[in-house]
Symmetry: C2
Subunit: 308 residues, 2 copies
């Protein structure tokens, strides 16, 4: 990873808008891409707030959905543009990302940030949307016993979204300081070593990013319960599958979510993201920022790119 000053400015393709980046967030996926995930080469960064330079939102602050869809393949026509067979993904796959002065984004992907929402809050729209994808895929009832595995950025946000739907959310982690942030929001927490394999959770959400997540989820979920996989683990994993059949467990893979719901929840203060900001660096110091995010027990590291 290095900061380049000679990198060419991105050119907007038809339907795209140039966005002058104000602020960007470092995500676990960025750290995985650096380790070689997806074989990506280019500009990283898919969580950002910027100012649109043209189009109907010109001059306004915007956030952008990360999947750039072709709008004509079978999956797009089925209404699944985030699964477009020809998609590029901002900062992840075949499309330069937001750790730069400018990024090009399809106009259709842009959402206007409300004027009274600080940029530091709006920059969380993408991961908050990913958390809102859970209730977009499965029903969550107020009485459901929900366990979130992982006390990191995504675990925290998923717990907050789910705590708006169920009165019985428990976050299981291994970092006392990160669990304390969750606890301060009024959500129950437990250290990983303290929990018993009670097999009585209706829903278990794996946000560990670790290959221990799925086996742990299987020990906690009740028969006919649901496991939601939010984080990917690279490579292959060894596991006994028979419990899925014997206990009729449902596993749901879950990825990107609805930006509109995320912006609304952030605007209404239903999701508290400010405590997640651990550190901020200037974009010119981006290599150190990534190294810091990779090696330190941080939550969200932000990159400041320009002033609004």
């Amino acid at each position: 990873v290095k900061v380049r000053r000679d990198y060419p400015d991105p050119q907007a393709q038809p339907g795209e808008v140039r966005v002058r980046v104000l602020c960007a967030g470092i995500c676990e996926t960025d750290l995985q891409l650096i380790r070689g995930y997806m074989g990506f080469r280019g500009v990283l960064g898919h969580e950002f707030v910027g100012v649109a330079e043209s189009g109907p939102f010109a001059g306004r602050r915007v956030v952008g959905e990360i999947n750039c869809a072709c709008r004509h393949c079978d999956l797009c026509r089925r209404g699944l543009p985030t699964h477009c067979s020809n998609r590029t993904v901002l900062g992840i796959f075949n499309h330069d990302g937001a750790f730069a002065d400018t990024i090009t984004v399809p106009q259709d992907n842009l959402h206007v940030v409300p004027d009274d929402m600080p940029t530091d809050i709006a920059v969380f729209t993408e991961p908050v949307a990913a958390a809102f994808q859970i209730p977009a895929q499965i029903q969550v009832q107020p009485t459901d016993r929900v366990v979130v595995l992982g006390d990191g950025r995504l675990g925290n946000l998923c717990a907050q979204v789910l705590a708006g739907l169920s009165n019985h959310v428990l976050v299981v982690g291994k970092h006392a300081n990160k669990l304390a942030l969750v606890h301060a929001l009024g959500i129950a927490t437990a250290m990983r070593d303290e929990i018993e394999a009670g097999r009585n959770a209706d829903i278990v959400v794996d946000c560990t990013g670790s290959d221990t997540g799925l086996p742990t989820a299987l020990k906690l979920v009740r028969p006919r319960g649901t496991i939601v996989l939010k984080t990917t683990v690279a490579g292959e994993q060894t596991l006994a599958w028979a419990p899925f059949v014997i206990d009729e467990v449902t596993l749901v893979g879950s990825r990107c979510g609805p930006f509109d719901q995320a912006l609304k929840a952030l605007a209404e203060g239903r999701i508290d993201v400010a405590p997640l900001i651990s550190d901020r660096f200037d974009l010119s110091d981006g290599a150190n920022a990534l190294e810091h995010a990779r090696t330190k027990p941080v939550l969200k590291v932000l990159l400041d790119v320009a002033r609004a």
Copy 2:
């Protein structure tokens, strides 16, 4: 495996009825139990038709659900008796089965066989019910592209049930003769080596009983599609789980199903089971019957126990 003539008659516990067995079917699970699955020791057999010796169905032919529930644990009270924490399972777990002159069955588990239904048809109620568990768990639309992996007993029955709901069912197998039976029912078939990994199936049902089933299903299912796991594989398996997240695939484990729907479908002739009967043996020749089912490319092997 041996035939014992000195084995004590089973004693009915409170709530149980003695059933004089007429006919029983050999299932893949029986063959796995012989190999040590579940550590079961006792009388095998969980697919059967018999005559109730007492209770409201005395003197009538009955079939029996296999999970014997306590009716008071948390899961029973939630309406999930097939997942009862204290359950025994006929011929599978802590309860002697139907490869015997008599079996004891909870009265609540019994269903009367219609008088005009041959015993040879009624003996398929349990596996047909397992096939009907699929639409009990997931929605199947007429336009859904459904792939059933496996051309054996369960694959055939699942395909028939699903073909009643979708107009696009394809059975993938590796035995031309077994696929021919499916084809004769008007259901499309393909040899395993012929199919392309098109990733356009809405639903893939794994009835292979093999650890190749789930990886194959992942190659066929579309993004946001559903994989139904119908058969257990003993031990641990290796798999890359990331595609579940990236493609937001749902995996549903599926086991025992509704006997009432199975009996109704058999009575109405909507499910054709007669062609599945490969061989029949007397119970006294049971060891040879199991060896035959284990080693020969058969479909259903029946054990004749007594005459009605």
